[in-house]
C-alpha cells in the first residue's frame, strides 16, 4: 500500500505522458493535481482543526469536548458543516448586497492562495516556487483585511462596523512588524523564494530560529495578531462586539469566514515553519533516504516533518488562546507600535551588523567563517557560533533598547500604571493614603 503510494507519482507521470505532450503534463496537469490535493487536504485539515481546538480547549479545562457524534466526536466537523450548509443565508435589511456577497469569497481566496507558494516538501511537494515568494505571501495575506472591511461595512450593523474597524487597524499595524521581522531571516537566506529559504537552511543544516530568536518571536506574535486570534481577538470580542465583522453573516457565508480564519492560521504557521524552523528540513533524513536512492520516501518524510512542525505551531496557537486573556484595545496598539515595530527594526540593525561582522572576519589569512554563498549564507562552524551568539545578544539588546524607548510609557503592568497615577496625583515625598473605605477615593487626596 505504502509502496504503491510512493511509486504513484512516476507511474501517473508515465501514464499522463501517453496522452499529453510533456510541457502540458509538467505545467498544466501536474499543478492541477497538486492544487486539488492541497485544497482538499487543507479544507479537511481546517475542519479538523476546529475539532482539535475544541478538544484541546476542553482538555485544558478538564472537560471532554465533543463526544456524541461518532467515536470520540470525530464526525463533529462533518455535522457542523452540514448544519452550516442547511442554514438560512440571511441578508440584513439595507445591507449592501453585492459587497455582502463577495466579502467572504475574498477572505477565503486571500487565505488559500498563499498555499500555492508554500513549500510543503522538496521536489513534487511544491505547487510553484515563485522567486519573490515571501513578498507574495505578505501581499496576498494583507488582501484579507479588505474582506473584513467590506464585510463590516456592508452589513449595516454597528457591531460589524466596529469589529471591521478594529480588525483592519490591528491587521495593518501588525503587518508592518511582521514584514520587518522576516528581513532578518532573509539576510541569511539571501533569497525571497520560500523553497530557497528552506534550501539555505537545509544546506547549512541549521534552523534560522537559532540565528533569529527575536525575529521568530516577533513573527509569531504578529502572526497571531494578524489572524485575529486570542489573545488579540478584539475584532471578535464576544463580550463587546457580539461577533465582530461577521455578526450579520450566517450559514455558508459565515462558514467561509470561519474557514478563512483557520486557513490563515495554517498559512502563518506554514510560513513561520519555512522561515524559521527549517521547513521540511530535518537532520539525517536526506542521508538516510535520498542518498540511498529512495526519492519518494524522502519527499514523503520531508512532508511529514513539515506537517509536524506546522502542527506544533498550531498547537501553540490553541495553547495561547486558552491560556491568555484578551488584550485591551490600547494595549494591543501599544504592543504593536511601541514594542513589536521597534523590536523588528532593532532586529534588522543587529542582524545586519552580525552579517557584516561575519563577512569581515572571513579572510584567507585568519578566521574562515563563510563556506559558500551559493545557497544562502553558507557559514562554517565558527561562523555559525558567531551568528548564534549575535542572535542571543540580540534578545537582550532588543529588550534593553525597548525598555529604554518605553521607559515612560504605560505598559501592561497594572501595578506600574497605578504607581504612575499615584506619582502624578500626589506631591512628591508624601506617601499615598490608603482610602478609608472602598467607596471614598481620590477626591480628598488631591490638592
Amino acid at each position: 500500500m505504502l509502496f504503491a503510494l510512493l511509486a504513484a507519482p512516476s507511474f501517473i507521470d508515465s501514464l499522463l505522458l501517453k496522452f499529453f505532450s510533456e510541457p502540458t503534463v509538467n505545467y498544466v496537469i501536474w499543478p492541477f493535481i497538486q492544487i486539488g490535493l492541497v485544497v482538499v487536504i487543507t479544507t479537511g485539515w481546517v475542519a479538523y482543526a476546529t475539532y482539535l481546538e475544541r478538544k484541546i480547549s476542553a482538555f485544558m479545562q478538564a472537560r471532554l469536548g465533543p463526544m456524541r457524534v461518532g467515536p470520540w466526536g470525530l464526525l463533529q466537523p462533518i455535522a457542523d458543516g452540514l448544519k452550516l450548509l442547511t442554514k438560512e443565508d440571511f441578508i440584513p435589511e439595507n445591507a449592501d448586497r453585492w459587497i455582502f456577497f463577495v466579502a467572504p469569497y475574498i477572505a477565503v481566496v486571500a487565505a488559500f492562495i498563499v498555499l500555492a507558494v508554500v513549500p510543503f516538501g522538496p521536489d513534487w511537494a511544491v505547487i510553484t516556487d515563485v522567486n519573490i515568494g515571501v513578498l507574495f505571501v505578505l501581499a496576498v495575506s494583507s488582501v484579507g483585511v479588505l474582506a473584513l472591511i467590506l464585510a463590516g461595512w456592508s452589513s449595516n450593523s454597528k457591531y460589524a462596523l466596529l469589529g471591521a474597524l478594529r480588525s483592519s487597524a490591528q491587521m495593518v499595524s501588525y503587518e508592518v512588524s511582521m514584514g520587518l521581522a522576516i528581513i532578518g531571516a532573509l539576510m541569511f537566506a539571501r533569497t525571497l523564494s520560500l523553497s530557497g529559504v528552506v534550501g539555505a537552511q537545509a544546506s547549512n543544516s541549521i534552523w534560522f530560529l537559532l540565528y533569529q530568536p527575536v525575529g521568530f518571536m516577533i513573527f509569531l506574535v504578529s502572526g497571531i495578531a494578524e489572524n485575529n486570534r486570542a489573545p488579540f481577538d478584539l475584532p471578535e470580542a464576544e463580550s463587546e462586539l457580539v461577533a465582530g465583522f461577521h455578526t450579520e453573516y450566517s450559514g455558508f457565508r459565515w462558514s467561509l469566514f470561519f474557514m478563512a480564519e483557520y486557513t490563515a492560521m495554517v498559512v502563518v504557521t506554514a510560513v513561520a515553519t519555512t522561515l524559521y524552523l527549517g521547513g521540511w528540513y530535518f537532520p539525517f533524513v536526506y542521508r538516510l533516504t535520498e542518498a540511498k536512492g529512495y526519492h519518494n520516501v524522502y519527499v514523503v518524510i520531508s512532508l511529514l516533518v513539515f506537517l509536524a512542525k506546522a502542527g506544533l505551531l498550531l498547537y501553540l496557537y490553541f495553547w495561547l488562546r486558552w491560556t491568555l486573556p484578551r488584550f485591551r484595545y490600547d494595549q494591543l496598539m501599544d504592543l504593536g507600535w511601541k514594542w513589536m515595530l521597534p523590536a523588528a527594526l532593532i532586529n534588522i540593525v543587529i542582524t545586519a551588523i552580525g552579517v557584516t561582522v561575519i563577512q569581515g572576519l572571513d579572510n584567507p589569512s585568519g578566521m574562515h567563517t563563510i563556506k559558500s554563498l551559493s545557497a544562502g549564507l553558507g557559514l562554517t562552524a565558527s561562523g555559525k557560533v558567531i551568528a548564534i551568539a549575535f542572535g542571543i545578544i540580540n534578545l537582550f539588546l532588543t529588550a534593553g533598547v525597548l525598555s529604554l524607548i518605553n521607559w515612560r510609557s504605560r505598559d501592561f503592568n497594572l501595578k506600574k500604571q497605578r504607581r504612575q497615577i499615584r506619582l502624578v496625583d500626589l506631591p512628591k515625598g508624601k506617601p499615598a493614603v490608603m482610602p478609608a473605605s472602598p467607596g471614598d477615593v481620590v477626591s480628598e487626596a488631591r490638592p
Binding site: 529588550a399 501595578k415 497615577i421
Partner: protein, 177 residues
C-alpha cells in the same frame, strides 16, 4: 482609580518580568491540564477530566444519598411488607404520605377475623424533602428511600406516586454505555 500604595518592584520582580515567568507559569498550568486529560485517566492527580458522560455512564451517588421512595416486598411471596400502620405518614414532617388501609376477612384458627391491610399508598415526591424519617419509622423495613435520583416528570401530577409505582419503580429510559 483608587490610590493604592504599590511598592517599587524589586530586581527579582523585574527579572521575572523580563523572562515572562508569569506567562510561562500560566502556560505550564494549561499544558499540565492538557497532558493530565490524556494521561490521568481516573483523575488521580486532580488533573484528569471531570465531565461525566451522564446518560451513558451513571454517576455513583454518595452511600447515604436519599432518592426515589420504594415499597419493599417480601422476596419469597411477593406480598407487600407494609402493614398499613401509618407510622410513616405520622413521621413525615411534610405530610406527603397517605396510607389508605382496607379491611379484609381472614380466617385465623378457624375463626373469621377482620384484618387491616394496605390498599393504596400515595407518596408526593414533589413535597418530599428526602429526610428519610419515614424510612426510620417503618417497623417492617418496607418503605425505603433508594439511590435512584431521576425523579423529573412532565407534569405536576407525575410527582405523585401511587402504590404500583412505589412497588415497581418508575420506568426511565436507560442508555447503553
Amino acid at each position: 482609580m483608587p490610590l493604592v500604595p504599590v511598592p517599587k518592584s524589586t530586581f527579582v520582580q523585574k527579572l521575572k518580568r523580563f523572562f515572562m515567568v508569569d506567562l510561562l507559569k500560566g502556560m505550564a498550568v494549561t499544558l499540565g491540564f492538557n497532558i493530565g486529560a490524556l494521561t490521568d485517566k481516573d483523575s488521580v492527580a486532580g488533573k484528569g477530566i471531570y465531565t461525566e458522560q451522564y446518560p451513558k455512564v451513571r454517576p455513583d451517588v454518595a452511600p447515604r444519598f436519599h432518592g426515589a421512595p420504594r415499597l419493599n416486598m417480601d422476596p419469597e411471596t411477593h406480598d407487600t411488607l407494609c402493614i398499613a400502620c401509618n407510622l410513616c405518614a405520622l413521621a413525615c414532617p411534610e405530610d406527603c404520605i397517605d396510607v389508605i388501609p382496607m379491611d379484609v376477612e381472614v380466617i385465623v384458627a378457624g375463626k373469621p377475623r377482620r384484618k387491616k391491610v394496605l390498599d393504596e399508598f400515595i407518596f408526593d415526591t414533589s413535597r418530599c424533602m428526602f429526610c428519610a424519617l419515614c424510612q426510620e419509622a417503618c417497623p417492617t423495613y418496607c418503605l425505603e428511600l433508594t439511590q435512584d435520583f431521576e425523579l423529573a416528570t412532565y407534569s405536576r401530577a407525575g410527582f405523585v406516586w401511587n402504590r404500583e409505582m412505589l412497588e415497581q419503580g418508575r420506568e426511565t429510559v436507560k442508555y447503553e454505555s
